[in-house]
């Protein structure tokens, strides 16, 4: 082919030229960028991850500190305007109703609690490395009554700070459980899809068996059998393992399906013909081709785990106090009485919904970008 030098692309616009030579990940990124909603979701997810990494910085109070005289305080709005830019909240005062003997909280319309950005508050630990007392939002005057952005719970604990700390636990449980199940899923799914035959048969039956098990009763029974004396960390690890134990099947199926398609692809056949070892074919040729699909599938699996953790903890069989997760927080809103009395106790659910939606849209965007023709 002597005329190869006469490349048809020689005098073409640069941009068009870039498309034909771009590596796969770049194409995926370009396609992803076009998906506006997924981009926004990606930014939200990054923000949530930052909160999960530094919940103390965004908190206004120690999440475990309870004030018996400050229970069920409704959410207080932060004000940004007071004849000019300002930062304060109206003070809230409790009065005991003389007839019902219940505390009633009334927002004062005159008394202001000044706030400032990057002020000092309680001491918290940065990633377990060092301590600081700088917070995004803090009282100007430490003797003022605390401001509760999302109100307080039964024990007068600040719900805003608790939701932020719950982000750390809920998100990391989701990530860890997905990480575990991804490893099991990729290994078993890969073996199943690549080797086929009776190995595939066996793994497929196992997956079918596990998938036909209703997960929630099993999870409940397993977590109910955890010793109650276990520490928060032990419980955390056990719940993560329980969640991963059953959910790897979905990922394994996805991986197997991909393998079955890839196995027939020309480049795999070519690799086989040129004498590559099976392991090399799997890890050098097949896994990289699937990586974008795996990333998408993993992103879509995290929200499922988050919801499942919320279920378990909500029913009182997942993480147990003093651990703080979204599910544990929602346990406070388990019956009509508490919800009717303090509807803001349902707000941790909003955190769950936002996170799950953002992760799902992000995952869908990644999947579409990875595989535009499916």
């Amino acid at each position: 082919m002597s005329s190869e030098t006469l490349s048809p692309d020689q005098n073409l616009p640069e941009e068009a030229d870039a498309i034909s030579v771009a590596p796969n990940w770049k194409l995926v990124w370009w396609r992803f960028k076009k998906h506006k909603l997924a981009m926004i979701s990606g930014i939200i997810v990054i923000f949530i991850v930052i909160i999960a990494a530094f919940p103390g910085f965004f908190s206004t109070q120690d999440p475990s500190e309870s004030r018996t005289r400050g229970s069920f305080i409704p959410p207080q709005a932060i004000q940004f305007w007071d004849n000019g830019p300002a930062l304060f909240a109206y003070a809230i005062e409790g009065k005991r109703n003389p007839r019902t003997l219940k505390m009633e909280w009334i927002t004062s319309e005159t008394k202001k609690v000044p706030l400032r950005l990057f002020g000092r508050g309680y001491e918290w630990e940065v990633l377990g490395l060092f301590k600081t007392d700088i917070h995004l939002l803090a009282l100007v005057n430490p003797d003022d009554p605390p401001v509760h952005i999302l109100g307080t719970d039964r024990l007068g604990r600040d719900q805003w700070s608790r939701v932020l700390h719950g982000t750390q636990v809920s998100l990391s449980i989701g990530l860890l459980a997905v990480f575990l199940s991804t490893i099991i899923g990729i290994v078993l799914g890969g073996i199943s899809g690549y080797f086929g035959g009776w190995i595939d048969m066996f793994i497929q039956r196992l997956i079918e068996l596990l998938q036909s098990i209703p997960p929630i009763p099993i999870w409940l029974a397993l977590s109910a059998s955890l010793p109650r004396t276990w520490s928060v960390t032990q419980g955390y690890i056990a719940i993560t393992a329980i969640l991963a134990l059953i959910t790897w099947t979905g990922l394994a199926r996805e991986v197997r399906g991909r393998f079955l398609v890839l196995r027939e692809e020309d480049f795999v056949v070519a690799a086989k013909l040129s004498g590559c070892s099976q392991l090399r074919i799997v890890f050098r040729h097949m896994v990289p081709t699937m990586s974008s699909h795996i990333i998408a599938a993993v992103t879509l699996a995290i929200p499922v785990m988050i919801i499942n953790e919320t279920f378990l903890s909500f029913l009182g069989l997942g993480l147990r106090p003093p651990a703080i997760s979204w599910g544990v927080l929602l346990q406070e809103a388990q019956n009509l009485q508490s919800v009717a009395l303090a509807p803001w106790l349902m707000l941790p659910g909003v955190a769950v919904i936002i996170t799950v939606i953002a992760l799902n849209i992000l995952g869908d965007g990644l999947r579409d970008a990875a595989d535009p023709y499916h």
Binding site: M1, S2, S3, E4, L6, S7, P8, D9, Q10, N11, L12, A16, D17, I19, S20, R31, K34
Partner: protein, 341 residues
């Protein structure tokens, strides 16, 4: 319009509006099809052959769209009625649907994919009849069985009840031919009907098509990338490259007196019985440009041995006649160029 001509395509343009850019899949194609004539469209894959026939049938799907040109079609072949422009009809409207499958029928490239795997052969054949004929299921079934016999399917009654994946490749293609013929069309469009089947069966299917076409005096558009097949079946040849017609003319002129460098190159790459065993087979240098990056000027110039610098890469040649039947779009023959924008 010559009364023998039943389909006349003028300056057809179909584009695909993709994220990466706009692809001019069909860019100003013109040719005619007369009654009883087999027109072969030949070209490498991606040259716009299939999109051309989809445009004729009005089944181009989004993001593709027919953006220009005319498709004149004579519904009644008494030579009196004026031809209608298919582009004026609604693609999904009743009149167009009445023409599709009834008067203009398609034989698809891959019969396996074109048949639904969860419906029986009979179900899909009967449906084809009943879409256009007001007959009962039994009558429709009888028509189908008769057609299946005609295209050489043994035990047609029994075969009505089977699924596509239970048949061999050759049989599946015969089923597709039977399906195309059930309503007695005037124009048959065959989209590479022999690519998906093995060589021995290919010959049988080609003979069958040729026989049916002769017997019923059908007009036919036959698409292929295989010049050997064209030589066997076509009366008239249209050579396409990158959405444009390079050359067209009667089959003998094209094969014995090719005028366009692309046609010559294609012909030179066919192995013949006369070529020596150790001889290297000529190939066309380079590869087809990316559809979004069509070269400016003549689409073939980067691979063309007769490339005239400063001309071929700046202006686009348009087809101009070299004889009363043959025309070619090349600056080696005529200076006729497209108006540049």
């Amino acid at each position: 319009m010559n009364p023998d001509i039943i389909l006349s395509i003028r300056n057809l343009k179909t584009r695909f509006f993709l994220d990466e850019g706009t692809a001019k899949a069909v860019d100003g194609v013109s040719f005619d099809v007369s009654r009883g004539q087999v027109v072969g469209i030949v070209g490498e894959s991606g040259c716009g052959k299939s999109v051309t026939i989809k445009s004729i049938l009005g089944i181009v799907q989004k993001p593709g769209e027919v953006v220009g040109g005319e498709i004149f079609y004579r519904r009644r072949d008494d030579g009196v009625q004026e031809p209608i422009n298919l582009r004026d009809l609604d693609d999904r409207g009743e009149e167009m649907r009445d023409i599709r499958g009834n008067e203009i029928a398609l034989i698809p490239q891959e019969p396996m994919a074109a048949l639904s795997p969860v419906h029986t052969i009979g179900n899909q054949l009967i449906e084809a009849v009943r879409l256009h004929r007001d007959v009962s299921r039994e009558e429709a079934a009888n028509i189908c069985i008769a057609r299946m016999g005609e295209v050489g399917i043994s035990n047609p009654e029994e075969r009505m009840g089977v699924y596509s994946w239970e048949l061999s490749g050759g049989l599946r293609q015969r089923v597709m031919i039977a399906m195309a013929l059930v309503c007695g069309p005037k124009l048959l469009i065959a989209d590479e009907p022999t690519t998906a089947i093995d060589v021995t069966t290919q010959a049988q299917v080609l003979n069958l098509l040729r026989r049916l076409q002769k017997e019923q005096n059908l007009a036919m558009i036959f698409i292929t990338h295989d010049l050997g097949v064209i030589a066997q079946i076509a009366d008239y040849v249209v050579v396409m490259y990158l959405g444009r017609v390079m050359e067209q003319g009667p089959v003998d002129d094209i094969f014995h007196n090719p005028q366009h460098p692309y046609t010559s190159a294609l012909l030179a790459s066919i192995p013949t019985i006369h070529s020596g065993t150790r001889e290297e087979l000529p190939t066309i240098g380079g590869s087809i440009p990316h559809p979004f990056n069509r070269p400016k000027g003549c689409p073939f110039y980067p691979r063309c041995p007769g490339f005239i610098p400063g001309k071929c890469d700046r202006f686009t040649p348009v087809p101009s006649p070299v004889s009363d039947k043959q025309s070619v779009a090349c600056f080696l023959h005529s200076d006729a160029a497209e108006e540049t924008e």
